[in-house]
Symmetry: C2
Subunit: 128 residues, 2 copies
Amino acid sequence: MSDNWLDEVKWTEDGLAPAIAQDAASGRVLMCAWMNREALQRTQQSGEAYYWSRSRRKLWHKGEESGHVQKVRSIRLDCDADVILLAIEQAGGIACHTGRTSCFYRELVAGVWVTQDPVLKDPREIYQ
Amino acid sequence: MSDNWLDEVKWTEDGLAPAIAQDAASGRVLMCAWMNREALQRTQQSGEAYYWSRSRRKLWHKGEESGHVQKVRSIRLDCDADVILLAIEQAGGIACHTGRTSCFYRELVAGVWVTQDPVLKDPREIYQ
């Protein structure tokens, strides 16, 4: 299979693109991380989400430590070809390193970021 | 109301953060653009989505030309405080400048980005 599809993504100067992971069943937006070319290629090849960790400067197989892997059901690209959208099945129902379903657990309410979603599993149990 | 909540966002060196707009009713991810501090503040104050256009280098009231404004139902922040998620009502049911519901209208199928969603309105009619 040709890699032309990878060339069609408009990577930033740093070779990255934001990647949004959405729960394929609930529609909930679970997280937004970064991919480089290799992350996207591995995601496509393996059927599990890979990202580029900017803080650790390394390829990151989501769930490699926590077991919370993401099975990829579809990969979409936006009109500007610079943002990726994954529809995924989230192992364990936990995408966030805080032990919550989604990383977007805080909502702006009357000028304050209020935590709206519960911790489903203690991070100390997730990352041992 | 204090602006502390704006300070809690971890803006990039360029003063930006990705902002995802999700349809509050359907759950469909419609677009991903950038906000700066002023865009987020105006979004909160007005109840309609504002973004920062990197190409035009100006604040952008979504729908200012097309009429396809976005009424904001909730504003969320992720665990790293560097990505914003809006739940919105999309006027006209069209978020994309190509005249489609969502900017994520292309899906990777057998190594090719395939357009999956129809044009609902000709862009020449949208932007006159």
